[in-house]
């Protein structure tokens, strides 16, 4: 674990080696956020790079009011969303509230998988979900952010975050139940 209070002043004084340490520390987090929002593999690395360029550019504005990881995740989220809005509007679903009636384009696990791999199946389902659900599920489960931190990152009210998380999991659980029943029968 890096000591941010020691590292950040070094970066602000132009120490690029120190910034490299920060990039290594948070590249996983940035990738997870970007990965869930952007579907094109080629764009992911470019957007991750862009995120860190922005982090470096605006680091002097970071005031330790939140965790550095929350602040970086917010930049990653906004950068990825803006990219989607600019280049691929298909990724942004306008009405994600109607998740109960959401239909997956590829939900037959038999067609998707050669072997029983729950994680792979779940990831494929998540990839087809509306962006808000993908982000909330990733931030909560993968990056272990709290509801409050997710609200801060995404700009959604905390209640909405809870609701997306609950309904997203419920939908995935229902699909997983069907999948497991099919596997057993």
């Amino acid at each position: 674990m890096i000591d941010e209070k020691e590292l950040l002043p070094r970066i602000l004084h132009g120490d690029l080696k120190a910034f490299e340490v920060l990039v290594k520390q948070y590249q996983g987090l940035v990738f997870h956020v970007v990965n869930r929002i952007i579907n094109t593999k080629e764009d992911k690395e470019d957007i991750c790079q862009e995120v860190f360029m922005k982090v470096h550019q605006h680091l002097h504005r970071f005031e330790y009011k939140s965790k550095l990881s929350t602040w970086i995740a917010r930049i990653a989220y906004v950068t990825a969303i803006n990219y989607c809005k600019k280049y691929s509007s298909d990724n942004i679903v306008a009405h994600p509230a109607d998740i109960e009636n959401y239909s997956f384009t590829e939900e037959n696990p038999g067609k998707l998988l050669d072997k029983k791999d729950v994680t792979e199946y779940i990831n494929r389902l998540i990839a087809q979900m509306p962006e808000q659900y993908r982000t909330v599920l990733t931030l909560f489960h993968l990056n272990e952010f709290s509801y409050q931190e997710i609200a801060e990152i995404t700009g959604m009210p905390e209640g909405t975050v809870k609701s997306y998380l609950f309904r997203g999991r419920k939908l995935l659980k229902e699909k997983l139940s069907v999948y497991l029943k099919n596997e057993l029968s």
Binding site: G14, D15, L16, K17, F19, E20, V21, V23, K24, Q27, G28, F31, H32, N35, K41, K44, E45, C48, Q49, F52, M53, H56, V118, T119, Y121, I122, N123, L137, H141, L142, F166, R169, K170, L172, K173, L176, S177, L180
Partner: protein
């Protein structure tokens, strides 16, 4: 399954109480099992699909951006100096007619002007060189 039951089961798992099946119906226990699998799958971290030298690439990009900015600043100052001195000279020549006064002025203080310009360019050159050295040290 009712929404309330799902909520209860999700809360149990969020609190890390997956093993607490006491008080749950067999249907709920079964659902809890599926939820446990789901939570485990959701927590499985995918390997970041980034090159191993990603951090180095980012800092290299930053370096080149900084260098570009420094070069632009240097070029801007050079252009400004050229325009300023060139323009001033032309304006003076035009204003003073034959330019005897300006030539007299230049012959008297010309050395100072030339040395001043050289000094300015030298400062810019050294600034560039030191910036490059500092960048190389940072690698």
């Amino acid at each position: 399954m009712k929404e309330m039951d799902d909520k209860k089961l999700q809360e149990l798992l969020e609190k890390g109480l997956a093993g607490q099946k006491a008080g749950l119906s067999s249907e709920e226990a079964e659902e809890l099992e599926v939820y446990s699998m789901l939570f485990e799958a959701l927590g499985n971290e995918p390997v970041p699909d980034l090159p191993h030298d990603f951090a180095v690439k980012v800092t290299a990009k930053l370096r080149s951006r900084k260098q570009r900015m420094a070069e632009t600043r240097f070029n801007g100052i050079v252009v400004f100096c050229c325009l300023f001195f060139g323009g001033s000279s032309i304006a003076a020549i035009i204003h003073f007619g034959g330019g005897e006064v300006i030539f007299g002025f230049i012959s008297r203080y010309g050395t100072i002007f030339i040395l001043g310009t050289i000094l300015l360019l030298l400062i810019q050159y050294l600034d560039q060189k030191l910036v490059k050295q500092a960048l190389l040290k940072g690698r």
